[in-house]
């Protein structure tokens, strides 16, 4: 775990330096940083379709997209980002990428059943495809060449172990997207190592619904000591819920954003399991560039893991440093 953490902190801090705007207390829009005069690749421009299952307005996906854009800029790639949370629609976006005859496709496989057909068709059309973030079990069967992400089960187990160490009582595992296999795996992993956890569904695209649902649950059951959210925005909402319900439940979370990091620093959120989304986006685009220009693939048929790593008070400063 400690090696994981160290590696992650080094990687994430360099990432933070690249992506995060200044976090000074003056507020308002910060002047954009000048990149260090990045000498981009001089390869011919290629097109990459980047297709995710992101719900509109989720901060996690901003980080994935920022990583993808950073790699695209370096590699002279025309990045075409599209997203749709409904499996059938996302599959259709893959079909459209094939129609457009792009040079590479990076895709998330949160709903593998729906994606299977069109992803396989893309592979048959000789378009290199890499998967990221979701679909650990299924990517190989579809003929996808690499996978960048974390094993959600393992990440869930790690979170469960940590809860066990902390002597947590009853824990609420909050799922924000019904039907997302990866999120289900996380909660299942938690349950394996920490049996006293209970699942609850909220509507991730509706903040007030998230907040009131968690509030009601906390009011109904005062034996809950921890609320484990599966995304940073939901952790911030859960903090409000705990306030509203007058509960002392500790909020812990998967995935990070700036607000959540600040909350960890302030001691409001206990810890976060980080899977380094920026890196997932970056590696996905970069590996496609390598495949097209150098004929190399990454991972050797095994998933390239970008997590899990724990972020808590002891190392959050490194991430937040400029």
């Amino acid at each position: 775990m400690s090696r994981f953490t160290r590696v992650s902190v080094v990687a994430t801090s360099s990432l933070a330096a690249l992506t995060l705007a200044a976090c000074s207390s003056s507020g308002g829009k910060q002047p954009a940083e000048e990149g260090g005069g990045g000498g981009g690749a001089d390869t011919e421009q290629m097109t990459v379709a980047f297709i995710t299952h992101a719900a509109p307005g989720d901060t996690f996906w901003d980080q994935v997209r920022a990583g993808a854009e950073a790699a695209a800029e370096k590699d002279n790639v025309d990045l075409q980002y599209t997203a749709d949370p409904e499996g059938g629609n996302q599959a259709r976006l893959v079909q459209q990428a094939v129609d457009k005859d792009v040079d590479g496709i990076a895709v998330t496989l949160a709903k593998p059943g729906a994606m299977q057909g069109n992803v396989s068709r893309a592979v048959e059309a000789d378009i290199p495809v890499v998967a990221l973030n979701a679909g650990l079990e299924e990517w190989k069967d579809m003929g996808v060449q690499s996978y960048f992400g974390q094993d959600e089960k393992i990440a869930g187990q790690a979170a469960g172990e940590r809860l066990q160490e902390e002597g947590a009582g009853k824990t609420l595992c909050v799922i924000q997207e019904q039907g997302h296999v990866g999120l289900e795996d996380r909660c299942a992993g938690v349950k394996e190592t920490f049996p006293q956890s209970e699942k609850i569904y909220v509507k991730g695209t509706d903040s007030s619904n998230v907040q009131s649902t968690i509030t009601a649950k906390l009011q109904q059951d005062d034996s809950i000591t921890h609320v484990l959210t599966l995304g940073a925005p939901f952790a911030m909402l859960a903090l409000q819920s705990a306030d509203q319900a007058g509960s002392d439940a500790q909020v812990v979370t998967f995935d990070l954003n700036d607000e959540a990091m600040q909350a960890i620093k302030d001691g409001d959120i206990g810890w976060a399991v980080d899977q380094q989304p920026w890196l997932q986006g970056y590696l996905a685009v970069d590996s496609l560039w390598m495949d097209v220009n150098q004929g190399m693939t990454m991972g050797g048929g095994e998933p390239v893991l970008t997590g899990p790593a724990f972020v808590d008070e002891s190392n959050v400063d490194v991430l937040m440093e400029k």
């Binding site: 980002y81 499996g87 709903k111 019904q178 039907g179």
Partner: protein, 345 residues
Amino acid sequence: MTAAQATTGADDRVAKRSSLNLLFARPEVGALIGAIVVAILFIAVAPSFRSVGNIGTILYAAAAIGVMAVGVSLLMVGGEFDLSTGVAATASGITAALTAWNFGLNVWVGVVAALVFSLLVGAFNGWLLMRTGLPSFLVTLGTFFILQGANLAVTRLVGGTVSTPPISDMAGFASAEKVFAWQVSVGPVSIRALVVYWLLLVLAGALVLQKTRIGNWIFAVGGDAAAARAVGVPVKAVKIGLFVFVGFCAWVLGMHLLFSFNVMQSAEGVGNEFIYIIAAVVGGCLLTGGFGSVIGAALGALIFGMTQMGINYAGWNVDWFYTFLGVMLLLATLVNMYVKKKADG
């Protein structure tokens, strides 16, 4: 439109109108011109939109909306709404998958169970509406929530997860796939089953509405239910029948989704009900009932599908997707209205 009653004497209500005027007074003409405008726009800006091979993708996107829009447009002509259509299609697929999987039956048994279920949901909507006299907006809103919850709860109860267990290894799956989710290549265009079923439904719906007594009844109950009852139209049967037909459309879409993807995600379909209504309205159906057309709703679905796909083919920034979609829809409906004005003028 029913033929003008032949009367004697010069009456300005039955004055001869020019054939062009008559053509332009049809509800679907505005949508047709709207569709042509949208198509021209995307052909101009999106290279991939021009490629003939991609027509299949565009038609498929339109069919995914259009299948339900057939039932919804007929229902709207009959003066009623259905808000449960989006989740009803998902519920139908879930019913088929879980029935077959849980009891280890042939997949076709699940398909039939889903058909019965979907027709019953439609009948229930219609019966409750006629029984209570509540607005259909409210009745079907209730059904919408009931189904949305049941989709998730039953799926988890039976299968243990939020998506139905895969059924591709079960008896009958292969033949059902051949029926509901086949694909055929016509030259460079790949045509999918749903597109053909959509066109068949449109044809059947349009013929019934325009050429049969039942079609006249539908116009009558949508225009003025009390007057229709007074002249002997079986209002109750017509309205319940319309809801049952919407259920049938939901079954067709649900089966296609199930056999294309082999699993159903329990949370999907929410919000689509408005897209079906929009397709019908863009196609010239009045929100108040009594006027509209099935062909128009098909064109509305085509406009929506073309816009959805066109924005992507054009490579516009997806952050603005819904903004573009809204602008295009306004554009299409403005053209629609302009054409109508010209026709009436």
